[in-house]
């Protein structure tokens, strides 16, 4: 199976690899997947408290090239969005942007899960109720 150019580009030059301070109240952390499944994503957002915009996003991923590319792309899309706007990122947008084949759709689902998990972590830290996300098939 050949990878799309966009996947190769994100894999070779991943954007926003790194770690934010998860102790900060304006940082939300999402850790999804499992080592046994061959995919673990950790996605973090930092929210600028004055503007309400996501000022920074970082990821680290254990997984195949498509999983790395999906999380790299997700961090790019998150920056500059409000938390509510970030919630609207759909896994199919990632599939489309990266031209993921059917066997790799689960990588995009994982990235969406990671975004939601990071947002929920941020919400809980800031006294907001946790959002219950609809479950997508992996």
């Amino acid at each position: 199976m050949a990878y799309s150019d966009k996947v190769i580009d994100h894999y070779s030059n991943p954007k926003n690899v790194g770690t934010l301070d998860k102790a900060k109240t304006n940082v939300g952390t999402g850790l999804v997947g499992a080592p046994e499944c061959g995919d673990v994503m950790r996605l973090q957002i930092e929210v600028d408290e004055e503007s309400g915009l996501i000022s920074d996003a970082k990821f680290k991923t254990f997984g195949c090239g498509s999983a790395i590319a999906s999380s790299s792309l997700a961090t790019e899309w998150l920056k500059g969005k409000t938390v509510d706007q970030a919630l609207s990122i759909d896994n199919m947008d990632i599939v489309e942007e990266l031209n993921l084949p059917p066997v790799k759709i689960h990588c995009s689902v994982l990235a969406e899960d990671a975004i939601k998990a990071a947002i929920n972590d941020y919400r809980v830290k800031n006294g907001l109720p946790e959002l219950v996300a609809e479950k997508k098939a992996h």
């Binding site: 190769i8 894999y11 690899v17 080592p35 046994e36 061959g38 254990f62 790395i68 992996h138």
Partner: protein, 406 residues
């Protein structure tokens, strides 16, 4: 020597054909096209002579009699013929077969078929080093056991089974012993008599011969073994495998066997030196593990897990230039990693993190140097990107985390 790219290190999947094999085959496509079963004219005689000669070349490599070689389309067919053929032929003696969980799918799925037909199959577990426990094997034998099917060398780990000890146990209990020799024949000395093998499957394209041709060795003396044909037709190959003989393929298999006979000793020495160098260099990386016995192992194979890095993602870092296999199966629908590595007791995470190296006749030192560099660089880069590596470095117990399973 100059570095030749891409580097091919997937010789357990298939080997490139040796140009000398191609040369031997070429006349048998157009010029000498006869049917080896045509007994009444020179076209047939020429083809038959070529097949007879190839049969001798094949037999010599494994110290068999030429009459004991049944040509097939490959090892999968030979595995099927051996297991199903023995099951049918010896049904009056019993219906129990013993095999191991690390066998190739061609053996495991054939055994599953036997179970569907009403047979009994025992799947032996292997130890951490990939070897079966001989005591367990002996204990599994019942008065209904007709066949022990244990491979010679494993395709994923290169682990060599204790063939002579297995055959001794088989003999002692009057049970036939079949081995899938696909990865071993032509790579290390295999002697059906010294090893006590009753049936053995092997294939041309794993030993620098053509695809689409293989053989089943079937012992004729002490004991005389017969298998029920699984393909009905003209009664070729002593009635055990009908179908017009693939003359060019058989000529190629014969030539490949002849080359292996002459070259495998020096080649094995060269490849094991290269393999050990590759392994030693890669083991300089932290949290890197060799899978399976390093002592009882084919000289050209190494299977290594790079913990906290996923195999397919790892391969993507260099798969433009290096061809390898991984025990990870991120692309498969089941997302299940290698069952062979799991049978060795590896956790799914380590199985997902594995690479299989299969060196071959045309592998050079320069290519090994290149591979060492490329893999080290990629592992380091991906670990920097791996949340699991970060947790490991911070002393977080990854097993204590409650992961969401999909």
């Amino acid at each position: 020597m100059e570095l030749k790219l891409p580097v091919y290190l997937d010789n357990n999947a298939t080997t490139p054909m040796d140009p000398r094999v191609l040369e031997a085959m070429l006349p048998y496509f157009v010029e000498k096209f006869g049917n080896a079963a045509s007994r009444n004219h020179s076209f047939g005689w020429v083809a038959e002579e070529a097949v007879d000669y190839a049969r001798e070349q094949v037999a010599r490599l494994i110290n068999a009699d030429p009459k004991e070689i049944i040509f097939t389309s490959g090892a999968t067919e030979a595995d099927n013929l051996a297991i199903k053929g023995v099951y049918e032929m010896y049904s009056s003696k019993g219906n129990h077969i013993i095999t191991a969980t690390t066998e190739h799918k061609a053996v495991l799925d054939t055994c599953k078929h036997i179970e569907k037909m009403g047979g009994q199959v025992t799947y032996l577990n292997v130890k951490e080093d990939g070897l079966i426990d001989l005591e367990e094997l002996e204990k599994a034998i019942t008065d209904k056991t007709i066949l022990i099917a244990i491979m010679y060398g494993n395709n994923e780990t290169g682990v060599i089974m204790p063939i002579r000890e297995i055959s001794k146990i088989a003999r002692k209990h009057g049970v036939l012993f079949f081995t899938d020799g696909t990865q071993a024949v032509g790579k290390i000395p295999v002697d059906v008599n010294a090893d006590g093998i009753d049936l053995m499957a092997f294939s041309g394209h794993k030993m620098y011969g053509p695809k689409g041709v293989g053989a089943l060795y079937v012992r004729r003396k002490n004991p005389r073994v017969k298998v029920t044909s699984q393909m009905d037709g003209g009664g070729h190959e002593r009635g055990m495998r009908s179908g017009t003989l693939n003359v060019p393929g058989i000529v190629g298999l014969g030539k490949a066997c002849e080359l292996c006979l002459h070259e495998m000793e020096s080649e094995a020495a060269r490849l094991s030196k290269m393999r050990d160098r590759l392994e030693k260099s890669l083991m300089e990386l932290e949290e890197t593990y060799v899978n399976g016995s390093r002592e009882h192992r084919l000289p050209h194979v190494s299977n290594i897990s790079f913990k906290y890095v996923e195999g397919e993602g790892l391969m993507m870092g260099f798969n433009k230039n290096i061809a390898l296999s991984s025990g990870s199966a991120c692309t498969s629908a089941s997302l299940e990693p290698s069952y062979v590595l799991k049978a060795l007791g590896l956790g799914d995470d380590l199985a997902h993190s594995s690479l299989r190296f299969g060196l071959g006749r045309f592998t050079t030192d320069e290519q090994i140097d290149f591979t060492i560099d490329a893999i080290k660089t990629t592992v380091i880069k991906l670990r920097e990107m791996s949340p699991l590596w970060e947790m490991f470095k911070e002393g977080v117990d990854i097993n204590a985390i409650e992961w969401a399973h999909h």
